[in-house]
């Protein structure tokens, strides 16, 4: 029964997505009320099932609930096993995802009322929930990769939600680029898991129960896989040097910012490292890199958070700072603390993001209740530092650690220059306009391009 419930929880948002997509494809766009009721029903049932599942496991003192469907695909020596697992690491995150997505869905019914993209938002939210639950319950890293990619795609499509403006679309492409490059780390990491551990199943690679698992992969092999996973995790969790995408992702609607960049999506990098924690335990250099990257991100996050001028960007950097600390906890070998921190942070940050549009109203209410303006806090720390250093830190904070500029200068621009240089050797055949003469761009369009 518990296995069935676990499968039901993971499959429900996927089936909801398919159902909504299918009726839309047939030409019927469900009304807002229908979408709202379907969402409320599905997520209430999922939350109740999740609570029941966890309480049953506590009652039985069970370590994990596993459901194996055998090999989804087996070719030669390669086996893609379809297995779901709910253990001490994944079940809290499953429940967290279900509850927060349900709450955000309920919030969005009013927030996006009569918005042109109302239906699109709920469609993508369900696909995201399915991807996230797949990541958290995946019994193999191959399956985890599938959910991981789904989360990335839905995230990007929601960043471009308000596509009437050009910036959200540009930022979506930018975020997608970062995701895809960082995902190479996960892809290669999984390949080496297959090679070194002869499997990508979590139970084979890390026998035992989380957080007391072990692994046979050790030495430089563990360091290599650990660093590759760190590369992927840093991309997903906006750690340095990939941190520049997080404020760009704030272009999406507030509910999606809350669930993606406050609660679930942004924590997936940390989850990946928690899942692969036995590897890090065998790879001190990789663990040190996790601590260094986490520490650097926490410092940058706290600085940039203070120098940000809008609420959502400020919250994004605050989230990044906390994520950095979670990475440090993982690198230092405190997985239970990191999991607790992760869950608490996700809940608080979701609330903050959802309240962000009403922040001024909240401030006024607090100030009114206090009978005047509250004194700013924290300024006394600043006075300890020399003024020149403070100014330098302020510049670093304003420029967000220069990481975006560095990535542009060291990666994006050289790649574009290389592309144009290679294109210059291509034969000048045709004009790319289907055999017709290229239309001369109108002045307004030239301006648009230059803009």
């Amino acid at each position: 029964m518990q296995e069935l419930v676990l499968v039901g929880i993971v499959a429900a948002p996927g089936l909801t997505f398919l159902l909504l997509a299918f009726v839309w494809l047939l030409g019927w766009t469900p009304r807002e009320r229908v979408v709202a009721r379907v969402t409320a029903t599905v997520y209430s049932l999922m939350a109740a099932s999740g609570i029941w599942l966890i309480s049953m496991m506590i009652r039985d003192s069970a370590e994990a609930t596993r459901v194996s469907f055998g090999d989804w695909l087996a070719v030669g020596e390669y086996h893609f096993s379809l297995e779901l697992a709910g253990d001490h690491l994944s079940l809290p995150l499953v429940l967290l995802t279900v509850v927060l997505v349900g709450l955000v869905g309920s919030f969005s019914v009013r927030y996006l009322h009569r918005d042109r993209g109302f239906f699109r938002f709920f469609l993508l939210m369900n696909l995201f929930a399915f991807g996230a639950l797949l990541v958290f319950t995946a019994g193999s890293f191959d399956l985890l990769l599938g959910g991981w990619e789904l989360v990335g795609i839905t995230s990007v499509l929601l960043i471009a939600f308000f596509d009437e403006r050009r910036e959200p679309v540009r930022n979506a492409i930018r975020v997608f680029s970062m995701y895809r490059i960082a995902d190479l780390g996960l892809l290669l990491g999984i390949f080496f898991m297959h090679k070194l551990g002869h499997s990508a199943r979590v139970a084979d690679l890390f026998p035992g129960q989380w957080p007391n698992q072990s692994t046979n992969i050790a030495g430089w092999s563990a360091t290599l896989v650990g660093l590759l996973l760190l590369f992927a995790a840093a991309g997903k969790s906006a750690q340095v040097p990939f941190s520049g995408w997080l404020p760009r992702a704030m272009e999406g609607p507030t509910p999606s910012s809350a669930i993606f960049y406050g609660a679930i999506s942004v924590h997936m990098g940390a989850y990946l490292l928690l899942r692969a924690e036995p590897l890090l335990a065998n790879a001190p250099w990789a663990a040190a890199a996790v601590v260094a990257i986490g520490g650097g991100t926490a410092l940058l996050g706290t600085l940039a958070h203070r120098a940000s001028s809008d609420a959502k960007t400020s919250l994004a950097y605050a989230a990044m700072a906390q994520l950095g600390i979670i990475f440090v906890e993982i690198g230092l070998g405190y997985p239970t603390l990191a999991l607790t921190h992760l869950c608490g942070h996700a809940v608080v940050r979701t609330l903050q993001f959802l309240r962000a549009p009403s922040m001024l109203h909240d401030f006024h209410r607090v100030h009114t209740a206090a009978g005047g303006h509250l004194a700013p806090t924290g300024a006394h720390y600043h006075h300890v530092l020399p003024e020149g250093f403070r100014v330098w830190l302020y510049r670093v904070a304003l420029e967000r650690g220069f990481y975006d500029a560095l990535l542009d200068r060291l990666v994006a621009q050289p790649a574009m220059r290389l592309s144009r240089w290679l294109a210059s050797f291509e034969p000048k055949i045709g004009n790319g306009h289907g055999g017709r003469p290229a239309p001369a761009p109108a002045t307004s369009r030239v301006k648009e391009i230059e803009g």
Binding site: V75, L150, I173, L188, G430, G432, H433, P441
Partner: protein, 407 residues
Amino acid sequence: MLLQLDSLAWISISAYLVLALITFACAPKRDSGPSQVRGALLIVLGSVLAYAAGSLWLFFAGWALTIVPVWMEDRTAPKVMLTASGLSLFVAVLLHSAGEPGSTEHRIAFWAITLAVLLRKGIVPFHFWVNEAFESPRLGLLNLLFNAHLGGYLMIRFGVPLFREVASEALSLLGILAILTAVYMALLAISERRPRRILALLCTSQASFILAGLENRNVEGIMGALLHWWVVAFATTVVISIYRALELRSTEVESPAGFLGFAYHAPRLAVFFAVAGLALVGMPGTLGFVAEDLLFHGSIESHPLLGIGLPLATALNAITVLRLFATLFLGRRGSHVPHILDARPRERWALTAAVLVLVAGGVAPALPAALRSAPAHTLSGLLAKEEKEVRPPQSLHTSIWRQPAAR
């Protein structure tokens, strides 16, 4: 044996006929004139003949038939390069008939086949004809020609079984060139702005994965290549058909000055484009994810350093796909962009069928994998054996594809 209708042939013919039906259903009226229909039918006939061929001579006849419609076009590079590929194959057929297994004639014949494949598939340095071919208004014809993937089929059906003694060295070169093509085209695409050129680069880059995978000595890579064949065929058909439909609905598409925002009026076309485009670059839930997963494993296994080129090319192509999607479908619809129609019923059903193939293959990959199991196992078996011993290849000619090799 003149015809050889084994599992490899009939599965390839069935898939290709479905693809042809989708292409015909999506073809706009302007692209359905008598000469274009004649050309399309000739390509379909030639491709089916090549798939069913049991001898190199008949395969050559099919290959040559598919090139005939290209001569109706006024584009030089496709004419020259495809004719050169035909001539190269003709030389190979002649030399194969004249020589004994293991002889110099056989060796030259295989290199001639390799050259024909390189020319036909637009592998670097013979890639430029594809760019010019994509300038043609007859994108439907080009789609049928491009997605027959006769180059890959030639290697599987005749190249490796008939010339096992030289296949290994030539395939290594072919595989390396294919990986280089994938990366090179993906790199070119990231700075390209014109949608037609982007489509050409994207299609060539992704199609070269097939050859890269076929060259792998392991069954994972070969299976990945064979599945990717279908992914490329169906996904690029959807993407090309939608692009052509948009091009005829609005001239802005040819040289977009910004984001065109067509999703506002054509949301279904946008969804089909997004799903097919993302399937092409390995979106989970589609056959592309499975195919690329297998391909990467196989390629990195075979070429630990160079093999990383495939995931890198996929990452770059994914960015290009999203950029193209954003250019065509996202953004505010400018005042200069006219109101356009969404997918018409005929287009809707055809595109749904293609997308269903991609999604169903992704949800239940065991079925397509089973359909491709025999050729994948046989080819990997042949290549593995070839490295150990050289056998007279003539006996392999008849029915090696019917049963999976016992492994």
